[in-house]
């Protein structure tokens, strides 16, 4: 039965991907992508990647879906002009050939994967004791390959700086996104009053449980960011002007703590991002607690968009 479920899931995911290719209207393709994100969450659970399923659900299902739907609706007026530039059949034939070739090459590679599957799981298991955390993925993210996570938090920050740098000069330092005003006793305002407190509790729970069970700061931060965004969309709160000092300090606070602890590792444990033995769990906790607010704020501001309104 599990094979039947996997086959059904794979077929459904491919059908959605094919729909996104052939759909005439961008909005229809975007709705297909929202469903595609949800189905991928199920694929990750079938691939025994519950942490990845959690991340896909929070980021792929929630944040990316909302972002694309909003963008598709806003770009509707440019739709007809853009669609007119559909390439002729020679280009389409060449593209199909290229895509078929890439798929065939990948399929051959998949079918020729080495039979004793190479795995780093035994080595990870052997060294998990030193990290003090139970969840192997948190161990990998914050101890064995901590430099990846450090680079990632800086990439997220750079993405935010990239989005901000698109602001027209006259509103530089202003507030991101349009001012959402909503009828106070409307459905959206009600949802934005009820859901965020629950979402905050769930976000912190998923962040907290991440040490020993699937979860962690990225999933928790994206849930908290989504909740704040809901309040902004309902007009209950407004994005702060990007020129505020506290905001910029909060954004860089997490990565700075990460770098500080990493640098301290050079003196105490002989290498950048090495933790002195016995202190690993404490330092990992410190890094995670410092990163959570910065990540949540960065993800939320990336979604809030390009500054459009003067600060005042």
């Amino acid at each position: 039965m599990s094979e039947a479920l996997n086959a059904g899931l794979a077929l459904f995911v491919l059908a959605l991907a094919a729909w996104m290719v052939v759909a005439r209207d961008t909005f229809a393709a975007v709705v297909g992508f929202v469903a595609y994100g949800l189905l991928l969450t199920l694929v990750w659970v079938q691939l025994h990647g519950v942490d990845v399923a959690l991340t896909e659900g929070a980021i792929g299902g929630g944040l990316t879906g909302a972002m694309l739907v909003a963008a598709a609706a806003r770009l509707r007026r440019t739709e007809a002009a853009a669609r007119a530039e559909r390439p002729g059949w020679p280009t389409r034939a060449a593209a199909a050939l290229l895509a078929g070739g890439v798929t065939a090459a990948l399929a051959v590679a998949v079918l020729a994967l080495p039979v004793p599957a190479p795995s780093l799981a035994p080595e990870t298991a052997a060294n998990m004791g030193a990290t003090g955390v139970g969840n192997p993925i948190t161990g990998v993210l914050l101890a064995f390959r901590a430099v990846d996570t450090l680079l990632e938090t800086t990439v997220v920050l750079l993405a935010l700086i990239g989005v901000w740098s698109l602001a027209p000069d006259r509103v530089w330092g202003g507030r991101p996104g349009p001012r959402h005003r909503a009828d106070p006793n409307e459905t959206l305002a009600y949802l934005a009053r009820v859901l965020p407190p629950i979402g905050l509790v769930v976000g912190v729970y998923i962040f907290w449980v991440g040490a020993d069970l699937p979860g962690g700061k990225f999933q928790g931060a994206s849930i908290i960011a989504a909740m704040w965004l809901l309040a902004v969309m309902a007009g209950l709160s407004d994005a702060p002007p990007i020129s505020r000092g506290w905001l910029r300090l909060a954004l860089v606070g997490g990565p700075l703590v990460f770098i500080a602890i990493g640098a301290a590792g050079v003196a105490t444990a002989g290498a950048f991002l090495a933790y002195p033995d016995g202190l690993a769990k404490l330092l990992i906790k410190a890094i995670e607690w410092a990163l959570l607010p910065s990540l949540a704020l960065t993800l939320a501001l990336i979604l809030a968009g390009v500054p459009e309104r003067p600060a005042r």
Binding site: V34, G61, E186
Partner: protein, 95 residues
Amino acid sequence: MAEFLLAAALFVLAMVALGFVRILRGPGDADRMMAAQLIGTGGIGALLLIGAAMGVGPVVDVALTLALLAAFASVAFFKAVTDGQPDDTGAAERE
């Protein structure tokens, strides 16, 4: 029992695939958003069944996250369609 739960998950997934047909055919954007909403709830149902069949507890946390963010796409759709002005029908009812 696990086999039954997986069969039920497959059945729910098939129902959700029916909803996908509405995405294909749906004349209006609203129909497509409804189908996305159905796929969200169906996805949560299938996830819970798979988690129960596999006996993996944390899958319930994944379903919790999906349930929390289920309405997000529809909110974005509503904001984009009404591009932000407060709804006047509410006002009309209040007079």
